[in-house]
């Protein structure tokens, strides 16, 4: 598939929309947007294993936490540069994801959700544990510094640390989204979806279900772990209580509202989970949760395909009367 001019224009527009906030938004809002992109990346990770491969995970906050902690420990304790820690965080999360994927092979839908949910609940406790305190900083957590923009860049483009962070997050996430998109629309993506929709038939066609499922878990954990690593640096702080089971639930809500099994939906999901609670928070301390839950249920009832499904349907409606699809 080559890029048609219209598609090319869309990509350019998207790039411009992604880069514009660098100059348009002030510090705090830019930080929020940075976090929204990070959330979108985490939701993308969840979408690969749950949306495309049908293995329900309610524990992706665990991978997010591991990614964040690997980067933080390497930066704070071993003085590594931020960029060097990213592949490391990705690799470790991938391995942990693979390890979680192995017992997951034996578990169907609801049981897997249950196991991953208990993983999500156990994570803060594990992070606080005394045996790890020398590395993790225990309850106090670890403090980090955002990387400063290098001299050669600032001489061309005057950026402060926040803007530079946004740029970093954008580039890393962009690469991950591209890779995920490539994976999904290719042979492996079709195999993942076939495994989800009809495992028996997929196996009869010669697909290695076990390898696909554990692989999906590994890739998914890797992407969510990278998101965690980015978030640790963007916030400049990690502590066990930032990674409660609510984080995993947040990713799940983002995936459902944005669109299950949709790459574009992951972006919607990231924006949603970051900005909607802020609005709801102004109503009451308890309101974000209640509104979250209600939106989740309403979406499942009315719009099970999420935002992405809505957009797809609207586009189809817009384009069909003028130029019907050539068959």
């Amino acid at each position: 598939m080559s890029l048609s001019p219209a598609r090319f224009l869309l990509v350019l527009l998207g790039l411009a929309a992604a880069l514009a906030p660098l100059w348009v938004l002030e510090s705090f809002h830019l930080f929020q947007l940075t976090m929204a992109v990070i959330m979108a990346l985490a939701v993308l990770g969840l979408n690969i294993v749950t949306g495309y491969n049908g293995q329900i995970s309610l524990g992706h906050g665990a991978f997010f936490a591991i990614g964040a902690y690997v980067t933080s420990i390497l930066m704070a304790q071993a003085d590594w540069s931020f960029y060097a820690t990213l592949p490391f965080a990705a690799a470790i999360c991938g391995m942990v994801g693979y390890a979680v994927g192995l017992p997951a092979l034996r578990l169907g839908g609801l049981y897997l959700a249950l196991v991953t949910f208990s993983l999500a609940v156990a994570v803060p406790q594990l992070l606080k544990h005394k045996a790890l305190e020398a590395w993790t900083g225990g309850v106090q957590g670890l403090f980090l510094m955002k990387p400063d923009p290098p001299r050669w860049l600032t001489s061309v483009l005057p950026l402060n640390a926040d803007q530079f962070m946004y740029l970093n997050v954008l580039i890393v996430s962009g690469i991950c989204f591209l890779l995920a998109w490539n994976l999904i629309r290719g042979r492996i993506g079709r195999a993942l979806m076939a495994t989800r929709d009809h495992p028996t038939a997929a196996e009869a066609m010669g697909m290695d279900i076990a390898a696909l499922k554990t692989g999906a878990f590994a890739v998914s954990a890797m992407i969510t772990g990278v998101a965690g690593a980015l978030s640790a640096v963007a916030v400049e702080f990690v502590a066990p209580d930032s990674f409660t089971f609510l984080l995993s639930i947040t990713f799940f809500v983002g995936m459902v509202v944005g669109g299950v099994a949709s790459i574009l939906g992951s972006i919607f999901g990231g924006l949603f989970v970051l900005f909607v609670p802020n609005i709801a928070e102004s109503i009451s301390r308890a309101a974000p949760g209640v509104i979250y839950g209600m939106i989740l249920i309403v979406f499942l009832f009315v719009l099970p395909e999420g935002f992405a499904g809505l957009v797809r349907r609207l586009l189809a409606k817009l384009s069909s009367p003028e130029n019907p699809k050539p068959q």
């Binding site: 578990l107 959700a113 406790q125 009451s284 949760g289 209640v290």
Partner: protein
Amino acid sequence: MEAFLLQLTACIATGGIYASVALAIVMIYQATHHVNFAQGEMATLSTFIALTMIQAGLPYWVAFAGTLVVSFVMGALVERLIMRPVQHAPILTHVGVYIGMLLIIGNLTGWVFGYTIQMFPSPFEGGGPMLGGLFSAHQLGSVAVTLAVLILVYLFFTKTSLGLAMRAAAYNPRSARLVGIRVDVMLALGWGLAAAIGSVAGMMVAPIVFLDPNMMLGILLYAFAGALLGGIDNPPGAVMGGFLVGVLENLAGAYIVGTDLKLTVALVIIIGVLVLKPSGLFGRVVFTRV
């Protein structure tokens, strides 16, 4: 030795709580073949309702009975209004709805009743230590209540025609409908019963751990672990599993991993059971035909 015995009796009391929540989970599983993630939040809400009734001046057992009725209605309503429309939807939708309910009920409880930790009265107070000082009155009482609930549920399912109808509706809905059982009503009834059992667990555990909106989260996981350990399709097995998990958790907490890793014990039990013996200790092995 005495310290060990005290540990053991404490285990049995908390195990009783896990057993009753595990029983509630198994009830829903038997009626719908699903595991309700919001079970704990529903039980916490029930407990707050009970507290409100007690504070309004009702005697304990009247409030207890009232809470059972309210919880039963609440469970049946949840089934009617929220679960019924997505009955035939994929599992992902069900998980989503459970998570949604968990968020709504949990946060609503905090919103209405506040986040401060509250004392909850025990009906068995004032007896002093019993059986050589090993059990407190509340521990003995809550174990007795759990066993009573178990026996009632067992009798209900085996000796009454309504219980038989419920089992039939879960086992084979189509045939059950053909012989005139109203499967929809049975489902709602199953949810109502589970909510009522959960509320009993909530009222029994609240005097021990104190009442706050997040009270049941850990308990729910232990109960899941217990239900799986005993076999998710076997009510007496689930109760045994609940007691076993209580013992394992307390002994591991006291002698092996320390109290700050207790929840991880639940995780290890859950994964261990699912990997080594997915049908549980007392469950039936189910074969799936492809």
